[in-house]
């Protein structure tokens, strides 16, 4: 049985995936951490779980989101597991409605119930399940609470297909849906209603797909006719707006019945938020955080550890192996190979492991705490001035750890031009593999000013990257508007 895991970004999909499948995977806070399709076996071996990137809707804006739509169109799936953020139900339910229209048996995992309760939101799970017509299981993905129940529901839930159309889109749209559905009959295995509605929403992937089944001109004629009718009758600007509003009304009704809101208190995280994104001290705080990170890595914590490691390698380990080799009576060639080749060579790299470890630790800590997204906001003005986008900052930051995931993280940038620029420039960030080289130079030539010199090497890379960004964006890669919403 194939089960697809789908939900909005930052709803805890990856945490849930890890809890359900038992395999370890990276968990982050930046939308698009799950860039590749990941597959895992359920703990009770009842089927395979496919982790999809986080999306707000099935109508994609970026390539990352397109993965989901192509998956739905081209690949086989038995069940959908939709994960919802209980504290943001209204936004999350837009996707749920589209998934229900898809027509495959669905199951809802209601995550972050604890966060919702803290914010004074009480959700009646039974009522929500009744209104949506699918089973709803409350879970806390972070701690794994409720995951067993969810797993059982997936394997035991009846193969019920929800036939009830949860949203009525008005006479004109419904008529057009039926018209298109009759043309698509026997040509596709997908729900014609879902295909039609996605098409009317302006989903390009669906348009291409339908265009292969029936004549493109026919589809366009149908859409034009519908749009004309809608614009005359309803007070909306586009067809997709109307569909959105119809869904919103239905969601509003569902929420009114199943959710109770109480008076809210400002959580601590919002207070921290207002501090780190403060207009005056936001940037200094960021520089301070970076300085602390580098000082810890290279001076306060990293150097003693590296020295200890070095002492361990050149002292006991070399001696031990030397003794061992003498006991076995190894030839001079083997002796030299192991002592001067293996131990000295591999040891030269191993010495830097503590420093690399510390740097990676801090980078992932910053990323998982959500500070990276705030940094993107704070840094957007500077990045915009060189023709980049605040979001480009995240790939570049990750690039300090390793360039490869940095380049991969650039996928979340929506416009192709900015994505290309970010990918081109991320390798200029000094990754941790370059650290041994820097450390060697610094140790040899600038022993008294280690941290300062390494920091300036890093800064030099950034400055060159920004300069190149400016040059590229004004010469080679002009035009195209940039998009920045986080």
């Amino acid at each position: 049985m194939e089960v697809a895991l789908i939900g909005n970004p930052n709803t805890g999909k990856t945490s849930l995936f890890n809890n359900l499948t038992g395999s370890y995977e990276y968990v982050g806070n930046w939308s698009g951490v799950t860039v590749e399709k990941k597959v895992g076996m359920f703990k009770n071996n009842s089927g395979r779980l496919i982790d999809l990137p986080g999306v707000y809707t099935l109508n994609p804006l970026s390539k990352d989101e397109g993965v989901v739509t192509s998956f739905f169109l081209n690949e086989h799936v038995d069940r959908l597991l939709n994960i919802l953020d209980a504290s943001q139900l209204e936004r999350n339910l837009h996707l749920t409605i589209q998934l229900l229209e898809f027509g495959k048996p669905a199951l809802i995992g209601l995550n972050m119930i604890d966060v919702a309760n803290q914010r004074g939101i009480q959700i009646n799970v039974g009522k929500l399940s009744e209104l949506l017509g699918v089973p709803v299981v409350p879970v806390v993905a972070r701690s794994g609470k409720g995951c067993e129940q969810l797993e059982n529901s997936i394997s035991t839930a009846p193969q019920l297909i929800n036939q009830r159309n949860s949203v009525y889109y008005g006479k004109e749209i419904e008529e057009a849906v039926i018209k298109l559905a009759s043309k698509l009959e026997n040509k596709t295995t997908h729900s014609p209603r879902w295909l039609a509605l996605q098409l009317f929403e302006g989903n390009q992937y669906i348009k291409t797909y339908i265009g292969k089944l029936i004549a493109q001109t026919e589809v366009e004629a149908l859409m034009e006719e519908l749009e004309k009718k809608i614009l005359v009758k309803e007070d909306v600007k586009t067809l997709s707006h109307l569909i959105y509003q119809k869904r919103k009304v239905v969601i509003g009704k569902i929420l009114a019945e199943a959710v109770k809101k109480e008076k809210t208190v400002i959580p601590l995280s919002e207070q921290i938020d207002s501090l780190v994104t403060n207009r005056f001290i936001g940037m200094p705080i960021f520089l301070l955080v970076m300085y602390f990170m580098f000082m810890l890595t290279f001076d306060w914590l990293g150097t003693p550890l590296a020295k200890g490691m070095n002492a361990l390698l050149t002292g006991p380990i070399t001696d031990g192996i030397e003794n061992l080799l003498t006991v076995f009576g190894a030839s001079v060639f083997i002796h030299d190979l192991i002592i001067h080749g293996l131990v000295a060579g591999v040891g030269g790299v191993l010495v830097f492991v503590p420093q690399i470890f510390i740097l990676f630790f801090f980078i992932s800590l910053l990323e998982d705490s959500g500070y990276m997204a705030r940094v993107a906001l704070v840094m957007d003005r500077i990045m915009e001035s060189v023709g980049l986008n605040g979001k480009a900052f995240i790939p570049m930051m990750i690039g300090f750890g390793c360039n490869v995931p940095g380049v991969m993280a650039a996928r979340t940038i929506e416009t192709p031009r900015e994505r290309l620029l970010t990918i081109l420039l991320t390798p200029l960030m000094s990754c941790s593999a370059r650290l041994p080289v820097y450390a060697l130079f610094v140790g040899a030539f600038f022993a008294s000013q280690k941290a300062a010199v390494v920091l300036s090497l890093y800064v030099l890379g950034i400055v060159v990257a920004l300069l190149l960004a400016k040059i590229f964006s004004t010469t080679l890669l002009k035009s195209e508007t940039s998009l920045f919403v986080i």
Binding site: H241, F280, F484, V485, I486
Partner: protein, 74 residues
């Protein structure tokens, strides 16, 4: 205009159609459209982005976009 609001100001969006297509779509995905109430959380210096709050979530948008969203002060 959202761009002219100060931190702490609240408003109701009355027209969002002058904003670029992509930004408009993304804001719609996040539940921000005509009629939704927004609250400006903070404004970055030197014409940097603006952080607005709507239905419990914080969203950063650029000043340029904020300047083309018409709001009615509450």
């Amino acid at each position: 205009m959202v761009g002219q609001m100060k931190a702490g100001d609240k408003g109701k969006i009355i027209n969002i159609s002058h904003v670029g297509h992509l930004v408009q779509r993304r804001l719609l995905d996040l539940g921000i459209t005509e009629g939704s109430e927004v609250c400006v959380k903070c404004v970055m210096p030197f014409g940097g982005p603006i952080m607005i709050e709507s239905c419990g979530q914080c969203i950063g948008i650029r000043r340029k976009e904020a300047n083309s969203i018409e709001v009615e002060r509450l």
